[in-house]
């Protein structure tokens, strides 16, 4: 590490800086190529939604992961951004606002930042639990307002607009979904890069310090309140851009976009993806869209499954998927991943058994409750289950119980093995340090 020390004491070459360029290149490539691979209309629509969710979740993580601020009302900023953007789009269509359609997301961003300036001033007065409570309160307040001020929020039907307006620039009308996708992909890439850059700035780093130890930050010259406030505005800006992207994509904004369900989804999926790594929320955002669009096709009880997965992650992997990936990459970097593979296979197998058992039980309960409308007999992974038959219930319980027992056994075994591997790595690091 200290190889270049004498000549340039501040400069430390890190090999993964090269990797970083590769990663960003890959990210751009994925954004470019995705609609070529998934070219069906609904797939391109899902991809567009993923772009929106990525910006939204990353902006949420400026608060949660980087600033330690647990917000229950992030949809206020994405949602209000969406409403202002849709009004701007209406105005553009009417010819009263000379703004190109491609800049509509920026209008949302400015709106999001503006609302964050006003509402965030109150919110960031406090940290910790009071902060969370205030965001919850403001979230409810804005949602209530959306029903009380139909002039702005459009009442039940919401506000709609048409993005195909004005003269096409270079033949781009934003009529076809694919054109919108590429515009949103560009915003996604630029916003992701900008938010990553933010983490490398003085404010971005002091924000991490505020997350870790607000008290000490006051003794190195910073007002924690001011740090939180500015970070909140930055977060609100990008949230507003996500809202503007939403407005452009769906051409409508209804009261739900500022609602608690959306705020909850940002929190849940940012956490699932992994709040402690920058790229975690990107994974979370992809899952958010997949869960909403695909999981809901498989089963009507998808929210229940989501809740179970969330519980499971909070208990066993509080760093989210990103931390699981990074921990295993670290193990792999020290060449110790191979011995763990058998354990992973066992964990996966028993995990599937638990999932099958639990899912069968959930579906049975679900069909028992709603049997009148969706029938009491259903097909589950090739087997016919019937809420009226004892063997269905018994079978589901049996698979679940055996699965759980085996899973717990393999998990304990794995935990031991994992601990040993980590100790080996620590020793290896110490040895390398001593060798310098």
């Amino acid at each position: 590490m200290g190889r270049t020390h004498e000549s340039r004491p501040h400069y430390h070459f890190k090999p993964w800086n090269v990797g970083r360029w590769v990663l960003w290149g890959l990210f751009a490539l994925v954004l470019l190529a995705a609609p070529k691979v998934f070219s069906a209309n609904f797939q391109v629509s899902l991809l567009s939604q993923m772009g929106i969710a990525i910006v939204a979740c990353l902006s949420y993580n400026v608060l949660l992961g980087q600033g330690g601020m647990l917000s229950f009302g992030h949809a206020v900023y994405t949602g209000l951004g969406a409403f202002v953007a849709i009004h701007a789009l209406v105005a553009v269509g009417a010819g009263s606002l000379p703004v190109p359609v491609s800049l509509i997301p920026l209008v949302g961003g400015v709106a999001g930042a503006g609302f964050a300036v006003v509402l965030g001033f109150v919110t960031t007065k406090k940290a910790g639990t009071p902060f969370a409570m205030i965001t919850l309160g403001i979230g409810e307040l804005v949602f209530a307002m959306s029903l009380m001020v139909p002039e702005f929020f459009g009442g039940e039907g919401g506000v709609s607009a048409n993005r195909v307006t004005g003269e096409p620039v270079l033949g781009i009308t934003y009529g076809p979904q694919i054109q919108v996708y590429y515009l949103l992909a560009l915003y996604t890439f630029v916003c992701t890069a900008a938010m990553f850059a933010f983490t490398r700035t003085p404010l971005g780093r002091v924000l991490n310090a505020v997350r870790d130890n607000p008290e000490r930050v006051e003794f190195i010259g910073y007002s924690t309140q001011r740090v939180r406030y500015i970070a909140f505005i930055v977060s609100g800006f990008f949230a507003g851009i996500a809202g503007g992207m939403y407005a452009l994509n769906f051409e409508i904004a209804t009261a739900e976009v500022v609602g608690a369900a959306n705020s909850g989804a940002y929190l849940l999926f940012t956490f699932l993806g992994g709040a402690i790594f920058f790229f975690g929320p990107i994974i979370g955002a992809v899952l958010l869209v997949l869960a909403g669009a695909l999981l809901s096709e498989f089963t009507k009880a998808w929210l229940l499954y989501l809740g179970l997965v969330f519980l499971f992650m909070v208990m066993y992997a509080p760093g989210g998927i990103a931390s699981l990936i990074m921990m295993n990459l670290r193990v792999a970097a020290f060449g110790k991943l191979r011995p763990l593979l058998a354990s992973y296979l066992a964990l996966f197998g028993t995990g599937v058994a638990v999932l099958v058992g639990a899912a069968a039980l959930v579906e049975l309960v679900y069909h028992l409750q709603l049997g009148d409308t969706i029938g009491t007999q259903f097909n589950f992974l090739g087997a016919t289950l019937d809420v009226g038959r004892l063997d269905s219930w018994f079978g589901a319980c049996f698979v679940l119980a055996v699965g759980l027992a085996l899973f717990e056994l393999t998990r304990r075994q794995f935990e031991l093995q994992w601990g040993v591997t980590q100790e080996e790595i620590e020793r290896e690091i110490k040895r390398r340090e001593a060798a310098i």
Binding site: M1, G2, H5, P9, H10, H12, A197, F198, R200, T201, P202, L203, G204, R205, V206, N208, A209, R211, D212, N213, E215, R216, V217, E218, F219, I220, G221, Y222, S223, R226, V227, I230, V234, I276, E433, I436
Partner: protein, 274 residues
Amino acid sequence: MKAAAAGSAKYAIELRDVRKSFGKTEIIRGANLAVHPGERVAIIGPNGAGKSTLFNLISGRFGSTSGDILLHGQKIDGLKPYEITRLGLARSFQVSNLFTRLSVFENLRCAVLWSLGYRYAFWKFLADLQDANDRAEEVMEMLKLEKRRDVLAMNLTYAEQRALEIGITIAGGAGVILLDEPTAGMSRSETARFVNLIREVTAGKTLLTVEHDMGVVFGLADKIAVLVYGEVIAFDTPERVRANERVQEAYLGSVLADQQAEAGQAAHGRAAGH
């Protein structure tokens, strides 16, 4: 008027009849103290005398109930901790108070940002701030933590955390340094090394330190302030404090006796103040 006062002030730190009550209990009962610039002062006293409270008042962690606290002639009581820090006073904590999930280097770099004028900048990259990076590296070398550069603060050993605690305190270049029991919980040999470190990193600065270990007190301080029941009952050179009857009576007699006995018997557990 403030600027003129700051330039020509006779004292770096001055306390005038400072009082602090928690509820009905008065912890600091009219403390007076005047420290010249460049002086190195150890504050000693029995447990519960209010030493840490006094530090918390000076650094702005608590507000005082009455009295004046002056930094270079400027009144600082009632100011926020960050405002006091910006005026050139930095403090360390008795229990290490670090940015746990940041690396050693990042801890130190955070600590220098404000003093170098970067404030809340989010339009500059940290990597480009040569002065901040150089200063952080410089402090890291003083602390002998170069090899631990990228280790998270939470993963450091206890002694390393104590060193980083001091490092964060002095990194911003404050002229007045308050150290709250810098060697608490350290072994004898670590303490000796640490006293040297503190002397090195606080050279030329005004130093106030709360300390129980008499070896450290005599190693670091030109003057000793004795705080008993919230009052400074003596403030003088070590020799004269030692000879002071009131001090003998109230506190130091027993401690010094212990220390001498200890010196006589060579090895002995830590006795000071306990």
